[in-house]
Amino acid sequence: MIILLAIAIGSLFGGATYLILRRSVVKLILGLIMLSHGVNLLIFTMGDGVRRGAPPLVDATGQPPAGSADPLVQALILTAIVISFGFTAFVLALAYRSNQAAGSDDLDDLSTTDRL
């Protein structure tokens, strides 16, 4: 399982890097989304319980039952997913508006604020 996840994380990071380096704004945003998914998966593997069917629970004494997964990583990922969803929506809206204003989604055309 952990090897599969490692390969998936690596692929997501590689694909994200490729997409972020493209000139199109849409591809850039897709790259950002892939990157955030890659990081979420990475956090998931950092818990000590990457096992199929292991629930994040505690028993009546407040201790995790034997064979349970680490609940903290799942809480962390949940937070990170919510944040990255919000930001993705914001960036998409921003890209749409800047596309309207500048009439292009090529990053090379979006350089008026950098000119001397």
């Binding site: 945003i29 937070t79 944040i83 921003l94």
Partner: protein, 505 residues
């Protein structure tokens, strides 16, 4: 328990909520904003008077014990930063009263400012690595709103670069959080610090330090991660640029200090030469960029980068004295930089443009504005008795005492270039004869002059009574480097590991 530590977070949160609900009544919204910021300022000042004597204060959210719950910790550096954030926000709010159009005011401008203050105060106070990430996102999303509010082409374009590159930096930080959790098995900063000291595998620690250096460095705009800053900071209204220059990059510096001072103290020795190299490059490249520009706010934006170099130099000196010196400088530059943005912005508004070639003659028309600008650039360049002199002198002293002669020489040389590029604005905007009839220009309004003037006067005051200020920062530097005291405050005298063991069989 010291639950009052939640005050600087709760007050802007309630203020922002009320301001959103009442957004049609702009007078009420202004009053609410002012009150929230004043509460934060008062609390910050009180915290600064308490913490140096009592040592760090801690509040555990909902009463959960430290390594499990979420801690808020205030040491002297946090207290100073919380106070400064509120002070700078106060000047920004006053400046906004006179400079922001009604359109923006009714479209949640003040709630966004309060949310920015909320995020910044939270980031300064949190004692938990993942919560630091969350506070970063809170302040980022508020800043995204502020930078794009208005929606002109330049704003959207600059905003897109700002948003994307900041999101990349945040993702790198989240990546670091994940690795840190996998490595140390905890996210409470005190607990991490405790485990870092004993954990084997120093190689992974070095990797983690590199990830955090990248993540916070891109927030702080160090070389070579600064390109988003000069292409976006000059696009929103002056008040927004000013508060960004005062707070946003400094949160990155604060996090670098915190992470390297507390969590990765062992790695600081390894990274110190590289951090010093980056600091030198940041100073020089930032100031050279400023020399090339011909627009008031762009010159000032490049100067932000250059000044970050000095703050990072304090970290690169890798000692309590170095961190203290860096803190003195950071506090000074937050104040003076915002003053210069306010005054430059006022000059820009009088002339109707920020282009140096089209401005001129303001020294005769607005002598007060010219006076405060000149005092401001003297302070930034480091002329006694202003606060910039103290900040730089202490940095250079520590640099010489630690035999870091090269970076010390670079820092001293950069000061001259700083002064030169600031004099360019002085010559073009204030001194040069205007091609137009200066008497036809509008007079500067009191509200546009007052915030900048107040900050410059504060800079003079800090230079004149430097003793207590430096003393305070010396304590802050020592507290920052004192892992044992921090851990004892957060988790009790036995340390976090003992609490952890007692709860988990």
């Amino acid at each position: 328990m010291t639950f009052h530590l939640f005050v600087p977070i709760v007050s802007p949160l309630i203020g922002a909520a009320l301001a959103v609900l009442l957004h049609h009544q702009w007078v009420v919204v202004r009053a609410i904003t002012l009150i929230s910021v004043l509460i934060n300022l008062g609390y910050g000042l009180w915290l600064m008077s308490v913490v140096p004597q009592s040592g760090p204060l801690v509040a555990q959210a909902s009463g959960w014990l430290a390594p499990f719950g979420i801690s808020l910790v205030a040491d002297s550096m946090s207290a100073l930063m919380v106070m400064l954030a509120a002070l700078l926000m106060l000047t920004t709010v006053v400046y906004s009263f006179y400079s922001i159009d009604r359109e923006r005011e009714t479209h949640f401008y003040y709630p966004l400012l309060l949310l920015l203050l909320l995020g910044v105060s939270g980031a300064f106070l949190t004692g938990d690595l993942f919560n630091l990430y969350v506070w970063f996102e809170v302040l980022l999303v508020a800043s995204f709103g502020l930078i794009t509010l208005g929606g002109s082409r330049d704003q959207l374009e600059g905003g897109l670069k700002y948003v994307v590159l900041n999101l990349l930096g945040s993702t790198a930080f989240l990546f670091g959080c994940g690795l840190m959790y996998g490595f140390a098995g905890t996210l409470n900063m005190a607990h991490i610090a405790e485990r870092m000291a004993t954990l084997a595998n120093p190689g992974l620690q070095t990797v983690l330090a590199g990830v955090f250096l990248f993540a916070f460095g891109s927030k702080a705009a160090i070389v070579p991660l600064f390109f988003w800053l000069p292409s976006s900071y000059h696009t929103p209204p002056v008040a927004v640029t000013a508060i960004f220059s005062g707070l946003m990059t400094k949160v990155g510096v604060y996090s670098l200090y915190r992470v390297f001072g507390l969590l990765l103290q062992n790695e600081l020795a390894i990274y110190a030469p590289w951090i010093t190299l980056i600091a030198g490059l940041t100073m020089v490249i930032g100031v050279l960029g400023a020399v090339a520009q011909m627009n008031v706010r762009r010159i000032l934006s490049f100067h932000i980068i250059s000044q970050i170099g000095y703050s990072v130099m304090g970290l690169g000196l890798a000692s309590a004295a170095g961190l203290a010196a860096g803190l003195v400088f950071t506090a000074h530059v937050m104040i003076v930089k915002m003053a210069l943005f306010f005054i430059g912005g006022a000059a820009e508004q009088i002339n109707g443009t920020g282009d140096l070639k089209k401005m001129g003659g303001l020294a005769r028309r607005e002598p007060l504005l010219a006076l405060f600008w000149f005092l401001g650039i003297l302070s930034l360049a480091g002329i006694p008795p202003l606060s910039g002199f103290i900040g730089k002198l202490i940095l250079l002293q520590v640099g010489v005492s630690q035999q870091a002669y090269l970076i010390t020489a670079v820092a001293a040389g950069t000061s001259i270039l700083t002064f030169f590029s600031m004099l360019k604005i002085w010559n073009e905007v204030f001194w040069k004869k205007s091609y137009e009839d200066v008497n036809r220009l509008p007079r500067v309004r009191f509200g546009l002059l007052a915030p900048g003037a107040a900050l410059v006067i504060l800079s003079v005051a800090l230079g004149l009574v430097a003793g207590p200020f430096v003393e305070y920062n010396t304590i802050a530097g020592q507290q920052l480097f004192d892992r044992a005291a921090y851990i004892a405050t957060v988790c009790g005298a036995d340390g976090c590991e003992a609490v952890y063991r007692a709860s988990v069989k």
